[in-house]
């Protein structure tokens, strides 16, 4: 449900950057979304369709790259991808650690003309 607001903010940045670059059309927007970001790609796609009507990004492709959660084990220091939703080190078996990636919601790049 909060994806509409997030997409609105993505598009605002996208239009700003595209204008700064002297472009008039946006053809592709690439996002990087962590699987622990609390954002659903399907809802982003829906919001994207709804918010780009009659804009420079109408009909553009939304390309969503998923980033796995990676955790650095507090005991052995190994970086591992937890077998969701359980977070135990795949090397030494210790639970938990620090989340290094997986929470990001990033506007990665634009394809414009």
């Amino acid at each position: 449900m909060h994806e509409l607001g997030i997409m609105d903010s993505i598009l605002r940045t996208a239009f700003e950057r595209s204008e700064e670059a002297g472009a008039s059309r946006i053809h592709r927007i690439t996002l990087t979304i962590g699987s622990l970001s609390g954002v659903a790609p399907e809802a982003l796609e829906f919001a994207f369709g709804a918010l780009t009507v009659d804009t420079a990004a109408e009909g553009a492709t939304l390309d969503i790259r998923r980033n796995d959660v990676r955790i650095t084990c507090a005991v052995c220091g190994a970086e591992y991808v937890p077998e969701a939703p359980v977070a135990c080190c795949t090397v030494c078996g210790s639970p938990g650690g620090a989340i290094t990636t997986g929470r990001e919601i990033e506007l990665t790049s634009l394809e414009v003309s």
Partner: protein, 226 residues
């Protein structure tokens, strides 16, 4: 026709929220205040937990509550008259609190209390994505919700510093499997402190109070300790 070209951006979408959250965190740190973000599904007992906590602790510790709801100020009113500063945020249709809403609420405290509870909008998905500037994130799970909630909503639980299992007095009626719940909490939130309590009977409340006292004490003694 002009050829298409690529612009690399790599900008975090929630950067604005995060920047405001950092301002909130700085304000809280200079005021020696500990802020706790309480998150759970609707009806899991956030307001009841706060009602009793305020009654028991607000003589000894200065407490403030920022309450978020889609509509009504019912929760804010329930928490009134307990010697605490209560600020109600009505979010309209927004399903979570963000850092700027909390920043506005913090600015209206006079003075900023030593312990600030932020009762988030009842929702286990959206609030987990927004840093509010809190120091501690707490997830609540009531026995009526089923022991597999942590597995179904791992984002909320994995980012929690503490998990509180509430309504323990009706666990048996709900056929709540405490062992399964414990295993699921450990699996998703292995670093979290866990409290098992009943606000109604008071069972388990003392451990929660002591944890709050310790953390507030640490903050007032050493500043940014947690």
């Amino acid at each position: 026709m002009t050829a298409t070209r690529t612009i690399e951006i790599h900008e975090a979408v929630l950067d604005k929220n995060r920047a405001i959250a950092e301002q909130n965190r700085a304000l809280l740190a200079t005021s020696n205040a500990l802020a706790i973000n309480l998150m759970s599904s609707p009806g899991s007992g956030k307001t009841s937990l706060l009602e009793r906590t305020l009654t028991e602790l607000s003589e000894a510790i200065s407490i403030g509550v920022i309450v978020g709801d889609l509509a009504t100020d019912n929760d804010g009113r329930r928490l009134g008259g307990r010697n605490a500063q209560v600020i109600q945020i009505t979010t309209g249709d927004i399903c979570h609190l963000d850092a700027s809403m909390v920043g506005t609420a913090l600015a209206s405290f006079d003075p900023v209390p030593n312990l600030v509870f932020i009762e988030n909008v009842g929702n286990m998905v959206c609030p987990a994505a927004f840093d509010l500037g809190e120091r501690v994130r707490v997830a609540l799970l009531s026995v009526t919700e089923g022991e597999d909630k942590p597995l179904k909503y791992p984002t909320l639980f994995r980012t929690a510093d503490a998990v509180i299992v509430t309504k323990l007095d009706i666990a048996e009626v709900c056929e709540f499997d405490a062992e399964a719940a414990r295993a699921n909490i450990v699996a998703t939130a292995p670093n979290a402190v866990t409290f098992w309590l009943s606000v109604r009977t008071g069972a388990g409340m003392e451990a929660w109070y002591q944890w709050l006292r310790d953390h507030v004490g640490e903050r007032t003694a050493h500043g940014d300790a947690i």
